[in-house]
């Protein structure tokens, strides 16, 4: 009986701590931005406070909810850091403070719909959604429309079959990423006198349109440069899956001289597969395998610098989150906004990776990692 009571008291303590934990990322927000607002104001009270604050010249505060599809790699964790940082310390002078709530769907479509419904119920002024599924996210967008809450999707684009579109879609130019990284890589190979290009595509997740668009971009570059796609591997953005599938593909296609990696997040799988066959070698080495990658994680940048990766197309995470926030602010203010915002980045090679405009905090988004 005593042990049972001890357990119960421990659970009570845990849940009391949870009840006091408050919003994610809000601790910092509240510390710096609650001189004139209480944490439990309703949305209507926030609006009144906003108007008063605006009249008196102080910053307004808005309530924004963000539904992440997962926190599976640096792109998502840095997105979270950027949102939380700019919630407490607005990027621009006329940006409001943000009472931010982030919910993570863990790759579960059904959970994302529930998360968005919870954000609607919380009384958000705007909702940002990074879709788990480019098509199945439609019920979540519809729920925002029905509630009259502005909705901005970012990162993963919506498929054309989605009838209910959000107020703003912030895209990352995935097709251009795939095309540019393959193009730069093929040009290097042609300059090196390689006529027959045989490439294996390590794609991302098939229900993510970013992956599909990048692969289409790569395919377009292949057609332009006469490269042969010898294998396409559905790797689900997972380096473990790459490590399972790529070795067999390399074994079955011994003439492979180029590998496309849909994201640097899968590089560890590519590296281990190439190391097994002594093909993980820097540019200039006779065993070098030409690699075209996307996203420019920190390890991607370092591998470009050290010659293991020949081209890496940047995913402008900083620009994407900034655009998502600015779109949300504009919608909350009732301003006209472009329904489609495309955020594109440069392609990094050995020739340009160290240029001044290529090493800024805006470009090298992974510098925002905690």
């Amino acid at each position: 009986m005593k042990k049972l009571f001890a357990l119960l008291l421990a659970l009570c303590m845990v849940f009391s701590l949870a009840a006091c934990a408050g919003s994610s990322g809000d601790a910092k927000t509240e510390d710096t931005a609650t001189e004139d607002s209480a944490t439990e104001d309703s949305a209507a009270e926030d609006t009144a406070a906003t108007e008063d604050a605006a009249a008196s010249g102080e910053r307004e505060k808005v309530v924004i909810g963000a539904s992440f599809n997962s926190l599976m790699n640096d792109v998502f964790t840095v997105s979270q850091t950027l949102m939380e940082t700019w919630a407490a310390n607005p990027l621009n002078e006329d940006d409001p403070y943000v009472d931010l709530t982030i919910l993570v769907a863990d790759g579960d479509t059904t959970k994302q719909i529930s998360d968005v419904n919870d954000l609607i119920n919380k009384g958000c002024d705007a909702i940002l959604i990074d879709p788990v599924d480019s098509t199945a996210v439609e019920p979540a967008i519809q729920a925002c429309k029905n509630a009259g809450i502005p909705c901005v999707t970012y990162n993963r684009p919506l498929s054309d079959e989605v009838k209910t579109r959000p107020d703003v879609e912030v895209r990352i130019g995935a097709y251009e990423q795939g095309y540019d990284t393959a193009k730069y890589c093929f040009e290097i190979m042609k300059e090196d006198g390689i006529e027959d290009i045989n490439i294996i595509l390590c794609n991302g997740e098939t229900r993510d349109d970013n992956s599909v668009q990048r692969a289409l971009g790569v395919a377009a570059a292949c057609e332009e440069y006469g490269a042969n796609i010898v294998a396409q591997l559905p790797c689900d953005w997972d380096p473990t899956v790459v490590a399972e599938l790529l070795p067999a593909a390399l074994e079955g296609n011994p003439d492979t001289n180029c590998v496309y990696v849909a994201t640097d997040g899968m590089l560890s799988g590519v590296q281990s597969s190439l190391e097994d066959i002594d093909r993980w070698a820097p540019y200039g080495d006779e065993n070098h395998m030409y690699i075209a990658a996307c996203d420019l994680f920190e390890e991607g940048y370092n591998n470009v610098a050290s010659g293991y990766i020949d081209a890496d197309a940047l995913m402008d995470v900083v620009g994407m989150i900034s655009n998502a926030y600015q779109s949300a602010f504009a919608l909350i203010r009732g301003e006209e906004v472009e329904p489609l915002v495309n955020t594109t980045g440069a392609t990094y090679t050995a020739a340009n990776y160290n240029d001044a405009d290529m090493v800024s905090d805006q470009a090298l988004w992974w510098k925002w990692k905690k």
Partner: protein, 324 residues
């Protein structure tokens, strides 16, 4: 306090002292109410109509799984295959519909897939005497593979408008919630008021004793897995209509853990012989409300994961306390 009240209070106290299971269940129930009361006071809009509907919709999405799992747990088994069965059924029905098939037939196909997998599990476990954990894990992998093959790992979209009748609302209450409640009531009556239903508990308590007593334990075990399959198929119909699509990954990885935890909170045991449908539904509501509160409070993802892990550990401990 008058004499009758004193006698009633004394009676309750004696029962709590003497019957460990009732004591544990009472404490769990009181604790759950206290936790939710504390959390709900922190959350604005917790008792709003919209939030209640949201929670009921979330409960019904996986509720059919928990109803079937309760039946299987009562007989001392386990069914890990349901998430995969839901996805395979959904992808089959979805593929058929976008190929021009009739939506009613598609719904029947989805239900049939659930029944077929229930049949496979039942035959292997009841007749083949195979270990339920291994069998249902295998059928989980098999059903996931079928789902991936049928969908080509892409999203199946463009379902006919008529199919969305399964996502309609009667007033403000979704049809799926109503069907779930009806299924829970029917199953509860079956388990508690019919001879066959009561046999489930006897098989779960001690299968040998049940067999010697004249109960057809093979038939009862088989029936439990068929019921689980039927409910998986039913759940697949409503989930597909709710999402408007079918994919090989439409059911999350944590659903199984959440559902088992809900059933055990509700009175079921991993050792078999115990459980009740209403308890499982209340357990599922509790798990869903905890997650709902966390979302509305904006609790950090990492803290939420840690607390969820602690809840599951506590649930396992509750099961141990009941059993010993």
């Amino acid at each position: 306090m008058n004499t009758q009240s004193k006698q009633l209070f004394g009676g309750i106290t004696n029962i709590l002292r003497e019957d460990r299971k009732i004591r544990v269940n009472s404490i769990v129930g009181v604790l759950a109410v206290i936790i939710l009361a504390v959390l709900s006071c922190q959350v604005k809009n917790f008792f709003s109509i919209q939030n209640v509907i949201n929670v009921l919709e979330q409960v019904s999405s996986v509720g059919f799984f928990s109803l079937g799992l309760t039946c299987v747990l009562i007989i001392g088994g386990i069914d890990l295959s349901v998430p995969g069965v839901i996805m395979a059924a959904s992808c089959l029905g979805g593929s058929y519909m976008i190929g021009g098939g009739n939506w009613i037939l598609a719904a029947l196909m989805i239900l049939s897939v659930g029944i077929i997998f229930g049949f496979i599990n039942g035959i292997a476990i009841a007749k083949g005497k195979m270990i339920p954990f291994i069998v249902t894990l295998s059928t989980l992998v098999l059903s996931q593979g079928i789902a991936a093959y049928l969908s080509a790992s892409a999203t199946i979209y463009g379902l006919p408008e008529d199919f969305f009748i399964f996502n309609a609302k009667i007033g403000i209450v979704p049809v799926g919630v109503i069907v779930f409640v009806l299924a829970a009531i029917l199953l509860s009556i079956f388990l508690s008021r019919t001879k066959t239903g009561r046999c489930f508990f006897m098989v779960g308590e001690n299968i040998e004793t049940a067999r010697i007593s004249g109960i057809n334990t093979t038939k009862i075990t088989f029936l439990a897995y068929i019921i689980s399959g039927v409910l998986a198929g039913t759940g697949a119909i409503f989930l597909t209509a709710r999402l408007g699509t079918a994919t090989a990954t439409m059911v999350g990885d944590t659903v199984t853990n959440d559902t088992i935890a809900a059933c055990i909170i509700g009175g079921a045991s991993l050792n078999g012989g115990q459980g009740n449908i209403i308890g499982s539904v209340l357990g599922l509501i509790f798990i869903t409300l905890i997650a709902n509160c966390f979302n509305l409070l904006g609790i950090s993802y990492y803290v939420g994961m840690a607390i969820k892990g602690l809840i599951i550990m506590a649930v396992i401990y509750i099961d141990v306390l009941r059993s010993h």
